[in-house]
Symmetry: C2
Subunit: 455 residues, 2 copies
């Protein structure tokens, strides 16, 4: 007999959590649909040849690898063992678990490019797996909710992402947030004008930590990675900048020497203009030149969303990448996407008390069960309630009233219909409202009427 | 550069398939909810200690095992290799992929029995993985849709399953089907009265094939497994029986000598009576004493559903099991459950043309994009359409009309709003109905009005 336990870094989601999670998924799904995105699902299991080399060395290590079936160790020798785990893996494992939704999407696009209607807009809501060290808020299995467009460089897509973020979050009930936006070319330009052309990657790794370690910390880190004092004093004017989007002029002055930065700023201006064209009320859009996430990946606009009034990292993120399918042999497939972080959104909504009442998902009426005769009588009541769309159940065993009411209470069932000998005789059933304790005697038709209205 | 391919036995689901699959999932989910079942999700990854030994020797082999992270091969020796794969696995793998939804559910119940409200009714819709040899209609990754009740022996649960099967399938549009039901104790009783007590397992393995290999084949197989002619001639009267449920009397006569069989028949009578009490119209319920599925597992009623007019195996199956959580140290937890086979249901609906029009899930209106000015003008049109709940998108690039209409056509978008210089001047936009080709000139307010009505 084994004492049951969850695998480390994984979670069960019981009924209450599920109701909340499904509310989040459904709201995001509806938002994606509203903007013309279509659903896609890819398998959890992918060939390692598809996954390896796409996430850097660290990512390769964090992939969960699946042992080949059957006699996987046939032909292995002492030498294979001595060669170390990295080589040994290639002998005993050909498949792994999906690490994100982007690489499988790229594989899908590459494999189906002949039949898809481009630009192809897809959304995908599925779990991914990472063999990370589990810690608070970081799990080995978690959902991603992604929407991407591939096959166009139009900045309309970026503006749509800004719209989608606003609409999705507001429909969730999250009103206080900032959509931060930056552009890869602005980062490239900053590296140029401070006299460190081509070194924006190292620059960004440091700048990215500005929030956490402050300007002093960032400078210390940059000095360690080969930047000098001249670079730093040239960089300083950029770090204090705050942009609400109404004016990029200060930045345009600072970056005037970099044509590539000007391109990035022009893109951003265009996105702002289109968001205005959409007539978005109270846009929470902010240019943040310290935003760098996944720089090796993004080639154009970069997005991130921070919720206010909570100490939780970014809740959404994304950007444009020009080489999505290149590693699968399909070139010139520019794309742009956004990912909603469900776990963090859940935590934000929980902490700020933003979840609506989700009772309608659960059982609305429980019918009591006092003896075989009353239970049989109640079957018809159940059937009628369900016919009018009411989630209903009968307590399965003939038990004491207290036990049955306790069950209804623990399951948050708002109404109980009591059927005893008196009720069967008169045809007037007792309807108990659990919260108030109020009881009414009603005929079945009146009860049905009540719950039709009550929906 | 890798040529991308799916892992063997896995599938992508593109937009069209997804719309159909989501219709099936949502219909089943709603049916489960209507009957008071609550959602649960468990992780894809479970400890092998939870999974191993639960599905028989064959099942253990079909589990996908996950390689331990990090330096998994440290300390392995030549001897470990020589001990063969079965022992080696225990050294390099501690986790596996979920093989079904029942064992994870049992683990969840065992771990949370102190806080759950019993009887606990949960539904679970998630993929499972099996390292089976892939073949037509059999995949290595597929969804299961399960609903189970644990913590009660009430036969109301069995009657509810019959109701739920009827309602779920009918809501899907599958009208022609048979819900087959049998009882483990009837099978036990048959083994007793034919003079082979305790050997119902071998008996059932053979009887289960009656459909495929006929009575002669079944008899041949039974002779091989140690039954004799006397057993066979005693068995013969059972095999030709057909039961529509209105009368079990012939069976009661045949099984009169077996008290345990009488218990089984009494259970079945009770289920029938309750289904009648529910007032189910045209019940498609049939007693099938050749139905045995998963005998080692089920202890009471056994269910299976066959769709008519298609050559596809059973589309739903389930039954009662008395020892769900015993292997996790929790005794006396009787349960009963049903599983909807989504892949087969999909095939049945496809073959019989039962899917409804699912267009409302997709984009309803595409706004054209002829140049920057017209696109900018169109942003407001888009925003207004979305505000009234209409799924809408703009073609992202300024392209020729033909290309844009072709995109709308391939994406099955029913309406296109054309905005050119004339439209911007007059404020009358052209609305094209793609199927009929009909065009109307309408103001934006009229268009909004049209799509509010049209939903």
């Amino acid at each position: 007999m084994s004492k049951p336990a969850l695998a480390r870094g994984t979670r069960d989601f019981g009924p209450e959590q599920m109701a909340k999670r499904m509310f989040i998924f459904e709201t995001i799904r509806q938002t994606f649909r509203r903007f013309g995105f279509q659903p896609l699902e890819t398998p959890a299991i992918e060939n390692l040849s598809v996954l390896m080399g796409k996430y850097g060395e660290e990512g390769d290590q964090l992939l969960f690898k699946i042992l080949n079936s059957g006699d996987f160790s046939a032909g292995l020798t002492q030498e294979d063992l001595e060669n170390g785990p990295k080589k040994l893996i290639t002998r005993i494992s050909e498949k792994g678990l999906r690490y994100d939704l982007t690489v499988p999407f790229a594989r899908f696009v590459a494999m189906n490019r002949g039949t898809l209607a481009f630009p192809f807009k897809r959304y995908q809501i599925q779990p991914v797996w990472r063999a990370d060290r589990p810690q608070k808020g970081r799990y080995r299995e978690f959902y991603q909710c992604d929407a991407d467009v591939v096959g166009t460089r139009s900045l309309l897509c970026e503006a749509e992402i800004v719209m989608m973020l606003h609409q999705g979050l507001r429909h969730l009930g999250i009103e206080a947030f900032t959509v931060k936006i930056n552009h890869r070319k602005v980062l490239t330009g900053i590296a140029e004008v401070i006299g460190a052309p081509g070194r924006e990657a190292a620059l960004c790794v440091a700048i990215d930590k500005l929030d956490k370690i402050g300007q002093e910390g960032v400078f210390a880190e940059l000095l360690k990675t080969g930047f000098n004092e001249a670079h730093l004093s040239a960089l300083e004017p950029f770090l204090g900048l705050q942009f609400n989007g109404s004016s990029f002029s200060r930045l345009e002055t600072l970056l005037a020497g970099s044509p590539v930065a000007m391109e990035g700023l022009a893109d951003l201006r265009e996105v702002w203009k289109m968001v205005e064209g959409f007539g978005l009320e109270n846009p929470a859009l902010e240019l943040d030149i310290t935003l760098a996430r996944g720089l090796s990946y993004y080639t154009g606009c970069i997005f991130e969303v921070k919720a206010h009034n909570v100490r939780i990292g970014s809740i959404c993120g994304g950007g444009r990448y020009d080489n999505l399918t290149e590693s699968f042999g399909v070139k010139d497939m520019s794309g742009v996407g956004i990912s909603f972080g469900v776990d963090r959104i859940y935590d934000v909504m929980e902490e700020l008390g933003l979840f609506p009442d989700l009772q309608q998902e659960g059982t609305k009426v429980m019918v009591t069960n006092f003896d075989a005769e009353a239970a049989y009588y109640g079957l018809n009541v159940l059937a009628r309630l369900r016919q009018v769309g009411c989630n209903a159940e009968m307590y399965p065993d003939s038990s004491k009233l207290k036990k049955q009411l306790d069950y209804a209470d623990r399951k948050n069932i708002p109404y109980v219909v009591l059927i005893g000998s008196q009720e069967m005789e008169t045809g007037k059933l007792t309807v108990k409202h659990m919260k108030s304790g109020q009881q009414n005697e009603l005929t079945l038709d009146e009860i049905i009427e009540l719950f039709i209205k009550n929906q």
